[in-house]
Symmetry: C2
Subunit: 442 residues, 2 copies
């Protein structure tokens, strides 16, 4: 029908190979969809000798990414290297050379989106990144187009497959975090250095990208209050279970008239709710829109083929609707959009799960309850089991779990400080957020 | 920035009023998204005197739809009348007059798509219908764009809010179908004449639309094997529960190398799976793609604002990417695509739930099991409770439930015919499909 669309790939690791595989396996289907054949014409790799299961067929590999970018047959560049540099410089260069860009690089977008989309605006080219958030789930497209009639009111999302895999195993097997992490590493579900995943940073990157699309505000990863799963104790997963909840690492964004609440934190969600049922390495995004109400989007959040699915779908989008893709990119990460309006974490309102190890003696619960009440925090339910060992000369501690009604995190912080000062607790008190609304839609 | 986009509305009932409300309430947001103000300039109604909570502001209502279509200020026509005629003629007329069309009319698309999209091709205009399937859930957009890199392998969906509301209540309260239907009618969740909803026709309409998008095949509603919930007995919901399942009205499409399996039927899905947790009037669509694996899209499937959300999102899509929307419409319901390749229902492979009322006497189970085995159907599990009344001179019947492994529906039909001929069953045997895979993603 007409000449081929040329694709250049930077990085032929797992995701890059997935892209090559879809472009080869579904060549006919894709040509039918875009009206032209698509061809990988250049690919840059770090090591020419490394064995790859899916090699671009008939493509001379190069170790010099500039050869890919300057190749006149390349129309669209896939950045599948990850990391900040040299990915950033190469994307900027590709845009200046008039190429469209498809990337899955959430860390880069979250913290350097302003520079990248400024270059896209100047070059009048598209930068698409469906794969950057929630892998194969077309959530960027849903927010940009499918839910375009809506003001987005809130987002609650499970965005890190590694954490969800670990939490699912901890919940199912009652094992400790460290043991499950080792298993996840041996199965390939966690990196050798899992820090960015388990401390919530990766989830915060993805939340920053979602916030840009859903609320048009530029937020740096540093501005997202975040806590990971790396300090989560098996005991809290067990107690949460007794109360009818499971613990998920949730990214949350909530629109308020006075600004956005943003946070990443391990959160109790009711068993049987949609987010509670998202297991293993699956991701899910719950979006509440002003007209549509609650919606849920779920699927595989990572991996070779789901990520490549999103990247190739972006390519098709660029080819069949270039003007709207260029226009959409031009609206993102505007440098003149001003500082984001963020709600201080102390002003976030949430329900909470509190766990204290208190001495097993009279008056303790009354004392704690009074301090909570003095700080305007009302109690929804309490669990305290009998001590497992009998009292001896040593102090016996028992776990006291208190579920609160809605209160600000500032009030909770002040109450916990007061409790720590005036009670002989064993260890630090534990505070986890509770999302009673994670139930919708169901 | 530039002149206003003119919207004409045919039918200002619930959905039409929802459209008016979004266009008024979110005028600023929408203008920002499309770069131009959007204005309702004409609206046709049946009764000028009827009270409406959301009236198009400053719009002269008319009882003559042609006045809306011929209004030169109208760029996009919203068809919100429902039914086949006069909706069909008006849409065809609107296209010939050069207007884009947004509709939620699944019955019309399912059975007259060929004529409508032929007109769209000739007029080079878009016909968008996100609202026709699963209400506010952007599933059409997801299949068209977000998952465009995939060959769709299967779709399993809950597409009728009325049926799901009734099934949820039957499951929760253990009540009979007729009683729950009356409640649903009094609450406004079911129409006075609920036939099209409860007999599976509405779900079949929506499945036919999904099949067009996902597989590019034109299927008439008549070609979809369908069974509704109107003959479902409370006993089967109860036994399914004992076995760890809930019953949902599922629309299923499965791609096979030799053709498509299409059907609508009450189906057992495992408790705790994503589809099982879709309750009340919510809808959900599970899509299995060749690259992305399993994805799930859930949300409100009907109602004023969710439906209007989808229709206004379509409008925004038409305005920001007209060429890709016109092109997408031009690819649909092509008259020269040939007959669909459908698998005869007898060749569908499924697991099944079978219930028999057998006489409480020796040898019955052995006899049934032998007939099933003779037809190549193997048994996965069996429940038979002790009879509730003691044997007397009359025959006592007991319920025998057999869960089978995968087999063709033809083999099951033959086995059931043989069983009916050779056993003294009380009433007809019950056969319900079992979807063991409804569990993903979870």
């Amino acid at each position: 029908m007409s000449s081929a669309i040329g694709v250049g790939i930077l990085g032929v690791g797992t995701v890059g190979q997935g892209v090559v595989r879809i472009l080869a396996d579904s060549a006919e289907l894709l040509e039918q969809r875009v009206g032209q054949p698509i061809k990988v014409v250049a690919a840059a790799v770090r090591d020419l000798d490394k064995k790859r299961d899916y090699l671009p067929d008939g493509v001379a590999l190069t170790t010099d990414p500039m050869e890919v970018l300057t190749n006149p047959l390349v129309d669209v560049v896939f950045e599948a290297m990850g990391g900040i540099e040299p990915a950033k410089s190469l994307i900027l260069k590709a845009l200046r050379l008039g190429k469209h860009v498809v990337t899955a690089n959430k860390a880069l977008l979250a913290d350097h989106g302003t520079e990248i989309f400024e270059a896209a605006r100047l070059a009048e080219r598209a930068v698409c990144f469906e794969a950057a958030v929630a892998g194969g789930i077309p959530i960027i497209q849903a927010l940009n187009v499918g839910l375009a009639a809506n003001r987005i009111l809130s987002i609650s999302a499970i965005l890190n497959g590694t954490c969800n895999f670990i939490l699912t195993a901890m919940t199912r097997d009652g094992k400790a975090y460290g043991d499950v992490l080792k298993e996840a590493q041996s199965l390939g579900y966690a990196e050798a250095d899992p820090t960015m995943d388990v401390d919530g940073t990766d989830t915060a990157h993805k939340l920053a990208v979602l916030v840009q699309i859903a609320f048009g505000q530029t937020v740096s990863t540093e501005q997202v209050s975040r806590r990971g799963i790396d300090r989560l104790e098996a005991a809290d997963i067990r107690f949460a279970g007794e109360l009818g909840y499971v613990i998920k690492l949730l990214a949350k964004a909530r629109w308020r008239p006075d600004g956005l609440e943003l946070r990443v934190s391990p959160t109790l969600v009711p068993k049987g709710s949609q987010l509670a049922e998202i297991s293993d390495s699956y991701n899910a995004v719950r979006v509440e829109g002003s007209a549509v109400g609650d919606t849920l989007f779920a699927g595989r959040g990572a991996g070779m083929m789901p990520t490549a699915s999103a990247m190739v779908s972006d390519l098709i989008g660029i080819l069949i609707e270039p003007r709207s893709r260029i226009r959409a990119a031009a609206e993102l990460w505007k440098p003149f959009a001003g500082a984001p309006r963020l709600i201080n974490i102390d002003e976030h309102r949430t329900r909470a799960y509190l766990r204290f190890q208190i001495p097993d003696r009279p008056g303790q619960l009354a004392h704690l309850a009074r301090i909570l009440g003095d700080n305007g925090i009302s109690i929804a339910s309490v669990i305290q089991h009998e001590p497992e060992t009998l009292a001896s000369s040593e102090v016996v501690y028992v776990s006291l779990i208190i579920m609160t009604h809605l209160a600000t995190k500032g009030a909770m912080r002040r109450a916990l400080e007061h409790i720590q000062k005036t009670c002989e607790l064993n260890g630090e008190p534990i505070l986890l957020e509770v999302d009673a609304r994670a139930g919708q839609p169901n």
